[in-house]
Subunit: 344 residues, 2 copies
C-alpha cells in the first residue's frame, strides 16, 4: 500500500504539472470510462439498475444500494452517517454515487479499486446490508427466479447468475450516473454566459486559494490516474485549526484504519465537489452542516487560510455551478419475491 | 363504528344482489376516482410522488412510503411484516398500494376512510416512520425549502405547505398507481384470447368455490361502496380449520384491535387479489408463503372447503391473470437537504 501511495504521489507530481500547463479547468466527459473486461451495455445497465434498487439481498430485506446512495437526491442519504440493517449506524458519511464512475479508487479510504469491487462491500458489511458472506448474497438473488433472464441477457447462457456478474451489472449502471453539462461544464466548453459574474469570481478565488492543488480534473478529485491508483491527501493538514476539534476531524484515521500503515494516518481520497448542493452534511464524518462552513473548514484545516466572507460566498456560488443536470431515469421493475425469501 | 358496519352489511346485501345479476366480472377502470375536494392534477401527482419517495420526514430519515410500499415491486415490501425506524417490526403484512385507490376504506382494519387519511398514519406510527406528531412531519418538510414551489404549483399561494396538502398530494399520486388492462381485464372487455384455457377454468372454479362472495368487483375487494364504508369479513370464519393454528390466524383480532368493539373481532377489510404474484408472503400476518397455499388456506378457513390440487392450480392460474401491467414511472428528483435536517 505504501508503495502504491508513493507511486501515486510521483505520478501526481508529473501529471499535475502537465495538467496545469494544459488546461486548468476540464469539463466532465459525456460518457464514463469502463474497464476492458466490463464494457457498458444496455442489458447490464438494465440488470444493474434492478439490483441497485433491490433491498432483498440485505439480511432484513430492507437495505439496498439506493438506501444510502439515493439517486433521487444527491446520490447519498442526507444523514451524517448512514443507517443499515437493524438500525445500526455506520462510521462515515455516505459518499455520492453520482460521478463515482470517474474516480480511480472507491470508498473514502480508497480500499476498492473499481466500482465492481466496491459493489461487493456493502452487502457483507455487518452495519450496512448485513449478509453473512457474498455466497449468501448471490444465493438470495438466485432464489428470485425472475432475475435469471436478465443475467442471461447481460452475460449469456450458462452459470451466469454470479456475484461477479451482479457486481459488473451494478457498476455498469453506476457508469450512467454522471452529470456532465452542469453550468460549469458548459462554461468550460465555451458558453461564457453559463456562469454568473459571482461564479466566475468564485472560480478564480477557488484557484487562488489553492483548492485546485487537490480538487482538480473533471470531477475535482485530482488528476487522471490509472484505475486502482488513489489520489490521497492528508486531512486535516493543519491539526491546530480550530475547526479540527470543533468537528472532531482527527478521530477517524482514514486510510490507515484499513491499511494499518501509520503512513496512511488521516489520508483520504480527495472527494468530488460535484453536486455538493445536494450532499449536505459534509466531511467524512458528516459533521459540517452547510456548504459555506465546509469551505471555511477546508481552507483552514487544509490550507491554513482564513477566508473573507465574500470569498466564501463566491466560492460557494462557484461550487453551485457544479450541480447536475441529473439524467431522467425510469424506475426499474423488480421480479416477484418467493414468499419464503425472508424470515419473520 | 358498529352502526357503520351494520349499514355496510345492509348496503352490501342489496348491492351484491344487484351486481351479481348485472355482471359477475368487472374490469378495473382506467382512471381511479378522486374525492370532490381533491381532484387529481399533474402538479399534485408530481409533488405527491416526491413526498412518497422521500425518507426525510421519518424520524431517522430512512423510511419513506416507498420503503414498505415498493412500487418497483408489488407495492408492498416482500416481508412477512414491515420494518420501520430503528429496526422495529410492525405487526401486520404491508398491504399493496397498487389499486388502493379503488378501496372504500384503507388499512387492513379499515381505520382510515380515504387515501388522504391513510397517508397521515405511518409517519406518526412509532414503529413505522416514528415522528412525534404530524406537526413535526410538516415542519420537517417545511425545512426543505425546495418543496415550497411544488406545493404552490399544486395548491396555490399562501400558507400551502400543510400536512393536509401533503396528504392530498400523496393520495393524488397513489391514484395513478393502478393496473387496469391485465389479462383478466382484457378478457372481461371481450378479448377472449387474453386468458388461457386453464385460467378460464380457474375463473369458473373461483366462482363455484364461493370466492366471489367476498372477492368481487373490479378490485376483487367487494361491491362498490361509498368512500369510508368498509366491506369487512370475518377471518377465519372456520376457526377449526387446521390452517388456523398452523398460521396463527387468530392471534390478531383485526378491526376490534382498533375499535375495541367485540363485534369487530377478527373482522378484516376484504383484500384485493390483484397483483398477488408480486405480494408474497400472504395474509394479515404474512405467514403464508405461496399463492397455492394461500388459496388452500382461504378455501378452508373461510369456506370450509378442501380443494383438489388441480382446482388450486387452476385458481392460481386465474389469479396470475390479475397481474399488472404496471405503468412506467420516471423517478422523482427530490430537493436538496439542509445539512442540519437530521441529527447524528
Amino acid at each position: 500500500m505504501k508503495i502504491s501511495t508513493l507511486i501515486a504521489c510521483g505520478l501526481l507530481a508529473a501529471t499535475v504539472a502537465g495538467a496545469q500547463s494544459q488546461s486548468q479547468w476540464q469539463a466532465l466527459p459525456d460518457i464514463a470510462p469502463a474497464p476492458a473486461d466490463n464494457p457498458t451495455t444496455t442489458a447490464k445497465i438494465t440488470l444493474g439498475k434492478m439490483l441497485y434498487f433491490d433491498p432483498r439481498f440485505s439480511s432484513t430485506g430492507t437495505v439496498s444500494c439506493f438506501t444510502c446512495h439515493n439517486v433521487m437526491e444527491g446520490g447519498d442519504d442526507h444523514r451524517p452517517t448512514s443507517i443499515g440493517v437493524h438500525g445500526q449506524k455506520g462510521g462515515r458519511n455516505a459518499p455520492t454515487v453520482w460521478n463515482a464512475a470517474f474516480l480511480s479508487v472507491q470508498f473514502w479510504d480508497g480500499r476498492a479499486a473499481t466500482l465492481e469491487d466496491q459493489a461487493k462491500g456493502p452487502p457483507v458489511n455487518p452495519v450496512e446490508m448485513g449478509m453473512e458472506n457474498l455466497r449468501a448474497v448471490i444465493d438470495r438473488i438466485r432464489r428470485i427466479p425472475g432475475y435469471k433472464p436478465y443475467f442471461e441477457q447481460a452475460f449469456g447462457s450458462g452459470d451466469v447468475v454470479t456475484m461477479d456478474n451482479a457486481a459488473r451489472a451494478i457498476a455498469a449502471y453506476e457508469r450512467t450516473l454522471i452529470t456532465p453539462n452542469s453550468a460549469y461544464d458548459r462554461y468550460v466548453k465555451g458558453e461564457k454566459s453559463a456562469l454568473t459574474a459571482q461564479q466566475v469570481r468564485g472560480m478564480n478565488t477557488f484557484l487562488a486559494t489553492g483548492c485546485t492543488s487537490c480538487h482538480q480534473g473533471p470531477a475535482f478529485t485530482g488528476p487522471p490516474l490509472p484505475v486502482g491508483t488513489g489520489f490521497f491527501m492528508k486531512f486535516p493538514t493543519y491539526p491546530n485549526s480550530p475547526y479540527v476539534a470543533k468537528y472532531d476531524l482527527l478521530k477517524d484515521k482514514g486510510r490507515s484504519e484499513n491499511t494499518h500503515n501509520p503512513a496512511d494516518d488521516h489520508m483520504w481520497r480527495v472527494q468530488t465537489l460535484r453536486n455538493l448542493v445536494y450532499t449536505a452534511p459534509y466531511m467524512h464524518n458528516g459533521s459540517v452542516k452547510t456548504l459555506p462552513e465546509a469551505v471555511r473548514v477546508m481552507a483552514s484545516a487544509e490550507l491554513n487560510r482564513t477566508l473573507a466572507d465574500t470569498d466564501v460566498a463566491d466560492i460557494v456560488a462557484f461550487l453551485e455551478s457544479l450541480t447536475g443536470p441529473f439524467p431522467d431515469q425510469l424506475m426499474p421493475r423488480l421480479p416477484p419475491t418467493p414468499g419464503d425469501l425472508l424470515g419473520p
